[in-house]
């Protein structure tokens, strides 16, 4: 197996992009990544495209075939990867395996989603199609609903408070306000969304005990990256190569009801353990993390399940400032899904693009983790039933 490096990355600002088609967005992000790697007028051997909903939302399938043509990368191999909200990291995994095996040398991975052209009802319904079609979906349960069920159990078991959840939202929206790629660039305060009488209006219940500001926005957006063997990185690009030091992927029961302890995100734990083992690192070695905070509770729960904090300690760590820039382990310095946005097929790729910028030390100082050498991402599919964890390392082995 060959070591694999990320040698180019690209992203477009997330948000509402009425003027762009799904393939437009994927193409723009891909061109940024190709140019960043220095491959602007060259081809790649293969293209993997992460997309969850083109077939439902745009009535467009075979998105990878469309993108490879749009980018004039023919006759490169092209595959679309659909794995729910974990499609992005799944596509990167496929690219990494293809390069590591020696089958392909240069691979473009792009991920994106166009979700804002349908109503909120339709977008909520689209994401809910990942629930069990017989025993969950007919009842109208949504992903926010599952997160609400999970949050109440977490509160009952660990004493998690709304103040802890609100602290995640405030932290991530503050970072999003500094990120030109973020969908949400609005500062919020605890008074405005929790303490004052107006908070009932400002921050209505969404899926009790979760409220509006506990959730990520519904976004359009795309991100892309270029992979090659680490040994070829120097001849292909001037960028500092970022080693894919390890990844892990694990699954859990499709339905929440069949989990012995629904507060135990087993797939997160297992995916992280695999990634740490492969990278020969431990949680305390990680300098910066991008966790899948589709809901504030998930940042807290994932920070515990990957091993940054003990179970039940993640919320207290947020309140103590341990997860902010300059803290023990800065989490979602990009603003996370909460502020950058969550175009579902694009998120897993965007997390790795943000980590690459961190590890190349290219961000402005108000968002740069000083001297960051290692980064970890969690891309959370379903409600924790298909999870990928990546560990990146600056400058090779």
């Amino acid at each position: 197996m060959r070591d694999v490096a990320i040698i180019g990355v690209g992203m477009i600002p997330f948000g509402r992009r009425d003027e762009d088609t799904l393939v437009d967005m994927l193409a723009y992000a891909s061109m940024h990544a190709l140019d960043d790697a220095g491959l602007g007028d060259k081809g790649v051997d293969a293209v993997y495209v992460a997309n969850m909903g083109g077939g439902i939302l745009q009535h467009q399938t075979a998105v990878a075939s469309a993108l490879v043509d749009r980018l004039s990368l023919l006759p490169a191999a092209a595959d679309t990867v659909e794995n729910g909200p974990a499609s992005g990291a799944s596509a990167v995994k496929n690219g990494v395996l293809a390069v590591a095996s020696g089958y392909y040398d240069t691979v473009l991975v792009a991920g994106g989603e166009k979700m804002r052209e349908v109503t909120g009802w339709k977008a909520t319904d689209f994401v809910a199609t990942l629930t069990h079609p017989e025993v969950e979906y007919p009842y109208g349960v949504t992903l926010p609903g599952m997160a609400g069920i999970f949050t109440r159990l977490y509160m009952e078991k660990y004493g998690l408070t709304r103040e802890m959840l609100v602290a995640v939202a405030i932290k991530n929206q503050a970072m999003g306000a500094l990120n030109p790629y973020a969908h949400v660039e609005m500062l919020i305060t605890q008074e405005g969304i929790l303490d004052s009488p107006h908070s009932v209006v400002n921050n209505p219940a969404m899926a009790d005990p979760l409220h509006l500001y506990d959730a990520c926005p519904v976004s359009d957006g795309a991100a892309a990256l270029i992979l090659c063997p680490l040994e070829m990185a120097q001849e292909l690009t001037k960028n500092v190569p970022i080693l894919v030091a390890g990844f892990g992927q694990a699954t859990d029961t499709h339905t929440l009801q069949e989990r012995e302890d629904p507060t135990d995100l087993k797939a997160v734990t297992l995916a992280a353990q695999q990634a740490f083992k492969r990278a020969n690192l431990k949680p305390s070695d990680i300098d910066v993390a991008e966790l899948h905070d589709a809901f504030t509770i998930l940042e807290i729960a994932e920070s515990e399940h990957v091993g940054f904090f003990k179970k039940g300690e993640g919320g207290k760590a947020v309140l103590a400032g341990k997860t902010k820039l300059g803290g023990q382990i800065p989490i979602n310095v990009s603003g996370g899904l909460k502020a950058r946005g969550h175009p579902v097929g694009g998120t897993g790729v965007a997390q790795l693009v943000d980590l690459t910028w961190q590890l190349r030390h290219e961000l402005p100082k108000e968002r740069q983790v000083k001297n960051a050498k290692t980064g970890l991402s969690v891309n959370f599919g379903g409600f924790g039933n298909n999870v990928l964890c990546f560990i990146l390392k600056r400058g090779g082995k």
Binding site: T119, G120, W121, K122, T124, D125, A128, H132, E134, V135, E136, P138, Y139, G140, V141, T142, P144, G145, G148, I149, R152, L153, E156, P204, A205, M206, A207, D208, P209, L210, T253, H254, T255, L256, Q257, E258, P262
Partner: protein, 116 residues
């Protein structure tokens, strides 16, 4: 009362109860199952009041819960209540089989739970 039309599957080897169906037991990989029908009332294990509903629902909110029947089957359903007042983890509810949504005017039946 309408019959509750769900079928669970009890592994003949280890006794683990599955709902929905699996081809192999989640615990022991056994392939033989005894069909199990829900019995008695349910105990509420987890719940939420959901306000942002998907396409196809006209209600202002849904209260969704996961509950366990007296013979061990766990299932998700809608809770018949006007608010979360009085709803608590561990409470006993009465199950029924009723329309849970309508698709093009046709009812889709499923589990509902009602506080006793």
């Amino acid at each position: 009362m309408n019959e509750i039309k769900i079928t669970a599957y009890k592994c003949k080897k280890c006794g683990h109860i599955h709902y929905p169906k699996h081809e192999r037991c989640l615990k022991c990989k056994g392939r033989e199952f005894e069909e199990l029908k829900p019995e008695g009332n349910v105990k509420l294990l987890a719940y939420t009041q959901q306000f942002n509903l998907p396409w196809g629902f006209d209600e202002r909110f849904l209260i969704i819960g996961i509950a366990q029947f007296e013979n061990g089957i766990k299932a998700l359903g809608q809770i018949k209540a006007e608010s979360l007042e009085g709803i608590k983890t561990g409470m006993v509810l009465k199950p029924s089989w009723e329309p849970v949504r309508y698709v093009y005017g046709e009812p889709v039946y499923g589990l509902k739970f009602e506080p006793l």
